[in-house]
Symmetry: C2
Amino acid sequence: MIDVAKRAGVGLGTVSRVVNGGAGVREETASRVRAAINELGFQRNEVARALRPGKKSSSLALVLGDLTNPFYATIAKAALEVAGQDGFAVVLGSVDEDPEGERRAIQELIGRQVAGLMIVPDQGDHSFLAGAGIPVVFVDRPAHGIDADIVMVDNEGGGRLATEHLLAQGHQRVAILLAPSYYTTGRRLRGYRRAHRGAGLEVDESLVVQLPEGTAEAAEKATRELMHRPDPPTGLFASTNFVAEGVLRALREVNKQPAVVGFDDFRMADMLPTPVTVVASDTAELGRIAARLLLDRAAGTDTRGPQRITLPCALIQRGSGERPPT
Amino acid sequence: MIDVAKRAGVGLGTVSRVVNGGAGVREETASRVRAAINELGFQRNEVARALRPGKKSSSLALVLGDLTNPFYATIAKAALEVAGQDGFAVVLGSVDEDPEGERRAIQELIGRQVAGLMIVPDQGDHSFLAGAGIPVVFVDRPAHGIDADIVMVDNEGGGRLATEHLLAQGHQRVAILLAPSYYTTGRRLRGYRRAHRGAGLEVDESLVVQLPEGTAEAAEKATRELMHRPDPPTGLFASTNFVAEGVLRALREVNKQPAVVGFDDFRMADMLPTPVTVVASDTAELGRIAARLLLDRAAGTDTRGPQRITLPCALIQRGSGERPPT
DNA sequence: CCCTGTGTCCGAAACGTTTCCAAAGCAATC
DNA sequence: GATTGCTTTGGAAACGTTTCGGACACAGGG
């Protein structure tokens, strides 16, 4: 920038003003500066820029789990889009899955002076974020120990929708397979219970299956065991897209096919031998809303109290959820 | 850091030395400094750190297409992992698909003083990267106008493998559906041609289908048209996972099912009515190798000339590719 | 002619590190 | 006791930007 100033025969301040907006600079001077910028191929150093007091870098941090999971990938993509429109870059923290790793990743990102954090939180306390003086938006689930914005899906409503749908087909024994993601899972279970209560049915607790892991493999194993019981369920509610995959995998070896409803849509769901009925929400919108909110917080545009935004879920009937009880 | 120095009663230089490695500091002094750091909750400001001359920030930039595509998501995940191990963060450029947008995104990232760039390049000239003095590794395909490292897949070999497999089943009319991603697609086509030549067959150019877009929709439409011809192909080679999806979608309405081989594996491929045969490579490894190479370049550890690394492809037989000609 | 206000421009200060040089302390050697 | 060399420490300079107070020029009003 100093070089540009010299070349154009002006002061640093003038160059800086031209580079940003350029108010209060005579057009003639400004064009001279612009010429010098082009000749020298000058590019503003964002790092130095972010160093100034009070300034934050123009990047957002995104902390989430496995990008290979389409759910997270969709959120990331949406956030990237929205942030990009505002000239913000997105820094992806490396996430090691365990809460301690998450904490370290977040600290790391704060050290990079990001303008805001978008987090799909792990369990564990997040109160260390409170004092950081940096806007935070949680996505998909709330965090403990801090009262921040949160954008999520109507898990309870979705769980209820899925279960009601199965019960409405006349299923009396509907199992739910729960991935260990405490919050969302808990809500979906609550919806499941509520649907039962609404239908005047008692929940058979042996049909509430807690998986040790959220993987397709764990779900497959659990489903196999479930279907080998003397009195297997005739309806299955898979609380996650990966769980649904595992369930379907296990059901390939089963004679009496139970009805299946999944939570969250997934690619190819409509192309399987029996197309899969799911309860889904607009995941991209989830990411977009979160990103926009975070940008507004970072810019200081939005000064409302912590928001709690919930997106609705819809049932997509494709076949697997409409099988009658056997 | 100044506060820490005051608190510990030492100079700035000493604190800095403790914070990094801490060589040449008496243990007693070092522990006093560490105590002060803990008390004040001090955290190094990465931005200021990257400002020093010659220093680059400890982040890698990653520029790639749609994260929703599992291929890209897998690369991103792998890069994230590897970079994280070295304490590097990953900045995701927002990619608008068009070459101009890509260029802008890259310039943006360079302005952020990233230590290196990992790019899945769009078409168009990338020579503007040559003068930036920043290591670049291209992934999946080379770029024009610059001689940099590149990590990719054996597209030609894969294309050949897929085609040979189909020809070996006795298929005489094998079509190839090409997504418009010039380089990879061209290589796969070359493999297709080579397989034909190897089998002593002439390629029917009407069976080489260039799709207007790389989407499942475009592939679905093209497949439908293809199969409605008077003399439809009995074997199909889908050059991409999305293309394969479209192909399979179209084939649901077709009586005489042709054999299908896809390029790149995808989730649920083994669960479709006819499990899908694909030619696949280790995409995660692709990302890992690229990230490692970039880190070594950035650290100055690796000073060899531009590398050109090619990963092999393997055929995964699942059924769809083993259908006999009809 | 002086004063004031306005529009433009200049350049020093500040941001929080790292690095480098110099200084200080200490032990060993002469 | 002086010299030398090594380890440890202190602090100034530098990085590239933004911001801010002030300077300068010029126009208009008194």
